[in-house]
Amino acid sequence: MSTPNATTPSGSPAAALVRTVIGLAMMAGGFYLSQHAEEIPFLAFQKALGEKGVPLDLGITTATIGVFLVLLPIIRVFYIKPLEEAILERNTQLERTFSEAEELRAEMARLRSEYEERIAQTEAEARAQIQQQIREAQQMRQQLMAEAAERAEELLARAREDIERERQKVLAELQLRVVDLSLSAAEKVVGASLDDEQNRRLVTEFIQKVEAAG
């Protein structure tokens, strides 16, 4: 696409004004030359050329140059310059749009990179937190297991103590009962009542001996 150039043959407004004045003077001079061609000696050749079928009028030629000197800055201002400005503005807008699009693309890439980085970071954090929770849970489990085992041991020991105590108690009761039954049986055999306290002591000693032997 073209890029209009500010440098033109029209140059500065002052130069254009000078050219316009020269152009107007040439137009007036050309008109004079055309109207008084026959009176001016060095234009006599025009008549000879005209007779040979070459219609030359240097007055028209001079005025034509003058017209173009006036016309050039007008065409420049009226046609070329506004068009150049419009094209330049359009190109500038296009370049700006492309630049903005490029910036947006870069921004989008940056955001995407940040987003991906943040996602990766979040994932890493989540993974670390999960690992931490798992570790804590495992520790808690082990602790609970240890506590439960300790508690169970404690309960078991207490149960054993209770059982032992109950067994001793039952054994003692059983022992008393056996003594009573033995005495009752002996009374029935002997037919006489024995000294209660003494008999009881003898039977108990006997049972203990039996237990020790058994």
Binding site: T7, P9, V54, V67, R76
Partner: protein, 252 residues
């Protein structure tokens, strides 16, 4: 007024010394005013469509295409610095093209006048000389006419001959530019008139069958005149670009 209205045709000068189809000063500039009115009318309509976006107005699009065409012509022939000649080349192109178009429909056109064409040619060649002096300096520009730099006796014997030939060549550029345009446009008119006379008895305007060729001439002649001006500008200003390139290389 007698000079403006004569020979039964408006704005045509009386015959005699200037030939039967000679046109008076005011006649030429009356038709030139028509040409300029058409140019500025069209450009005025086109101008309304100028905007910072892509033009959707058809005349504005045409004006832009014309500008791009002229710019491409200037840049491709003259070089990168040719863009600054678009105004000059564009003005010549517009006047010649519209002048030639007017010649298709009206009895006369400024481009059918040798004096008018000579004025344009003198302006073009004169402008080329000014740009040549601006690009190479007065001595450099004159030395340009002497051809390649020769040494010893050759410089004394050959260079002045080349210089004289080149000066005559420059003068003849005016003649060739103006006569070519004049011959084609005025000749086209004459051919149509002559051929119409052939079919006059049968009431057939035979000459009008030349219209397609004349339409082609309209475009081609505007193109040739401006193209040659670009070539002349290129010949005298190409040193400027080489110089700039040399500077760029030196700086690099």
């Amino acid at each position: 007024m007698g000079e403006i209205v004569g020979n039964g045709l408006p704005l045509l000068a009386a015959g005699g010394a200037e030939g039967k189809h000679a046109v008076s000063f005011l006649g030429v500039f009356f038709f030139l005013a028509i040409v300029l009115a058409i140019i500025f009318g069209a450009l005025g309509i086109a101008r309304k469509g100028y905007s910072s976006r892509v033009f959707t107005n058809r005349p504005a699009m045409l004006a832009e295409q014309l500008y791009l065409f002229l710019e491409a012509m200037c840049v491709s022939i003259i070089g990168a610095h040719g863009r600054k000649y678009v105004t000059f080349i564009g003005t010549l192109w517009l006047v010649i093209f519209v002048g030639n178009l007017v010649a298709l429909f009206l009895a006369f056109s400024p481009t059918a006048n040798l004096s008018f064409n000579l004025g344009m040619a003198l302006l073009a060649v004169g402008y080329v000389q000014v740009e040549g002096v601006r690009a190479n300096g007065l001595i450099g520009h004159l030395a340009h006419f002497a051809g390649p730099r020769l040494g010893g006796l050759l410089a004394v014997l050959v260079s002045p001959v080349i210089f004289a030939i080149e000066v005559v060549s420059e003068i003849m550029k005016n003649v060739s530019l103006s006569l070519r345009l004049y011959g084609n446009i005025f000749g086209g008119h004459e051919a149509v008139v002559a051929m119409n006379q052939l079919g006059e008895r049968a009431l057939i305007p035979v000459g009008e069958f030349l219209l397609p060729i004349k339409l082609l001439t309209v475009v081609v002649q505007a193109l040739i005149f401006t193209l040659l001006t670009c070539v002349y500008l290129s010949l005298v200003t190409h040193h400027e670009e080489e110089h700039a390139e040399g500077h760029a290389t030196a700086h690099a």
